[in-house]
Symmetry: C2
Amino acid sequence: MAKIGRRPGETATKESILDAATRQFGAHGYDATTIRSVAAEAGVDPALVLHFFGSKIELFVSAVRWPFDPAAEVPRVIGGGDRGSGRRLVDLFVSTWDAEDRRNPIVALLQAAMNQEPAGRHLRDVVEREILVPLLTALGSDRIELRANLVASQLLGLGVARYVLGFEPIASLPAEAVIDLVSPSVQRSLTGQL
Amino acid sequence: MAKIGRRPGETATKESILDAATRQFGAHGYDATTIRSVAAEAGVDPALVLHFFGSKIELFVSAVRWPFDPAAEVPRVIGGGDRGSGRRLVDLFVSTWDAEDRRNPIVALLQAAMNQEPAGRHLRDVVEREILVPLLTALGSDRIELRANLVASQLLGLGVARYVLGFEPIASLPAEAVIDLVSPSVQRSLTGQL
């Protein structure tokens, strides 16, 4: 049985657990990944995973990495001026999601968020607090919380249709075509008359 | 052990299993409902549930009843003319979802659809084939499949934000306010320039 106290190598062990968790949640989704399967890949006892992370959902929230850094990307969305902000925001999401080969941590996060309250909270925190509220504040929009909700529902709805449920033709369209189709509604939610 | 061959009362037994399943999936969601718990409420052996329905996901797809009849409601959405069709469609969804006390079979269907392919297929069949494609055909719109995808992603995104993830303020707004906010984008997807 592995010792579970603080010791040299703890950080490396946590990292290898997180790497295995990120890979498995991304490849197999939330339901099909288990504490046991993550522990096996990281070469540790399942009890150690629980000791570090508490539960499967807490491990998930720690392991799922948003595929871009909001603090770096939000200024780029704002940078070109108000009018193109909707298009640059949709481009940021679609390009990122497409690049991750569609079996990515964000699909797993969307799936988990529907059934697991902590995953839903995590998704809301990233999308609303870290991305949309700073963006809307910089754009000088009114009713920021409400606009953040509307944009989040548009982006999550697109994510569900294109990546999770695979609605056709939207799942197979090139990124550029999807961005053209969705940007006007997102722009209206960001800066238009509500 | 209950006999599982065809016999008098089979229809009544199936109905009582479906009633229990509809109630439990609606009240507790897909994950927390089991073949065993449904069988217990219906007063039958779990093996009989599996005999009739094959698996939990097949039971779910049989038990989840869409809360309105598309064949009756789609003509009402079309009836008032093209211009208000987006508003009447959003009103139909929001009013129905609100009336069901938000712990309804549709929330369970959204949740299950994210993780279970048959539930995703069922959701797509109802929303696209039974509701949106007939509606768009009657409206005389071009690019019907694509428009159906776009409207579906807007309505599902709203459902996720308002009913599943509980984003504020959109989760607490009166139905009328939500309909005002979402209808213009839906109208554009139904009949506007893409």
